[in-house]
Symmetry: C2
Subunit: 239 residues, 2 copies
């Protein structure tokens, strides 16, 4: 029996019967079969507030001039936010399941990052979450061919760099290669195949190695050390 | 007297006294002095709903299985959304003023794209908005040095590719080079200098040439024609 793990799933889709809903259900099933612990934040179901405002804080250091980062440092967020932060702190692995909307996160999930994450004092490989793993599951309407390096929309791993690198690795998370589910909605067959490969992947997800991003020590005053690949190049090579 | 233009500003910041608020006010002032017409969507002030839901539609083609893209094609959005769409259709230039949060759009602005934009039938250089120009104004807390090609956060033009290319050019917009305002909040002096260069730029904004992205004719069955730079490369060279 392998070690019992704690998994948090952040799920952002308005329709429970959707393909993304099936990905969520499959993930829960797999992890429960393996006797891991699973928590889910179903953002639509929770009616999660997407927009960061003054109301996110029980009291304000400066009510006359709202500076979100300043207020976040006081650590006086409302319970809706603290509860999410506690779940992240609890987890060994955080999985984000969402459809690609306008080349990015659905607003409800972007708002989760805006409100729940804050400028942790240490960054990247020194970040507070460096012992935790993270994984994006992204569904697209368009086929894979449009998301290659020279495809019409461009390399999807690079499109998602602002999330994998700018949100997750920024806070220290180890980032596993993203699971892409292309052309879903095109046919039942495609959806079934995607679900099957999702299931296979999740079964051994804790054996996987994270992306080999550069660490703080790789940067000098003039930026990344000569000869090293940038993190965008590293992530772009996955496709 | 130069031609009278129609300018729409989409503004996303919770604090009117902020640097972003000053950018907005300066833009309105410049354009009104030039006797252009200006409309503003102040998303926080409007209490704009960020999260796309079933309630965005006056009636649903399929209430049992919510498929947003399907519903959007029926063109039965509620007035809050239609009003924004009309403003976009009215404008010659759309300017987005926002702070960079988690390497991306504040959720309220991402939600504006999720709800207001939809899959127009033609894309990229054939897109429905191909006669219109667009411009991002992005403020960051971190200095420029962190956002270079080999900086710690990576090339900011590439970080924003999912917006300039994935949202704006996707719908046909001509995309002007983004205005970056780095290290704002660091000192009054920096903020003043940024405001001054913003003012200078806007005075002649209609003389500027958009980014020279590839058009649909540049793509064959195997993707972008050999020898051509990808749009990500084109945008990345701006820094």
């Amino acid at each position: 029996m392998s070690e019992k793990k704690k998994i948090l799933i952040i799920y952002a889709h308005p329709e429970p019967k959707s393909f993304n809903g099936a990905l969520l259900n499959k993930a829960i099933e797999i992890f429960q079969n393996q006797e891991h612990e699973v928590k889910v934040s179903d953002l639509y179901e929770m009616n999660f507030q997407a927009v960061a405002t003054k109301k996110d804080f029980t009291s304000l250091k400066n009510p006359e001039f709202f500076k979100m980062q300043l207020e976040q440092r006081q650590n006086n967020m409302i319970d809706e936010i603290k509860n999410e932060q506690k779940k992240v702190e609890w987890a060994d692995l955080v999985i984000f399941i969402f459809p690609l909307w306008w080349s990015g996160l659905p607003a409800i999930l972007k708002g989760w990052f805006d409100r729940v994450f804050y400028q942790w004092p240490k960054l990247y490989d020194q970040g507070v979450f460096k012992e935790k793993k993270s994984l994006l599951s992204v569904s697209t309407g368009a086929p894979r061919s449009l998301y290659t390096e020279r495809g019409l929309n461009g390399n999807i791993s690079k499109i998602l760099y602002s999330i994998t690198h700018g949100c997750l690795y920024f806070c220290g998370f180890q980032v596993l290669p993203t699971s892409y589910h292309y052309s879903v909605g095109q046919s039942e067959k495609i959806a079934e195949e995607c679900l099957l490969s999702w299931e296979e992947r999740l079964k051994n997800i804790f054996d996987e190695k994270p992306l080999n991003f550069n660490g703080l020590k790789d940067y000098g005053e003039r930026g990344l050390s000569q000869g090293k690949k940038t993190d965008l190049e590293i992530i772009g090579e996955l496709l």
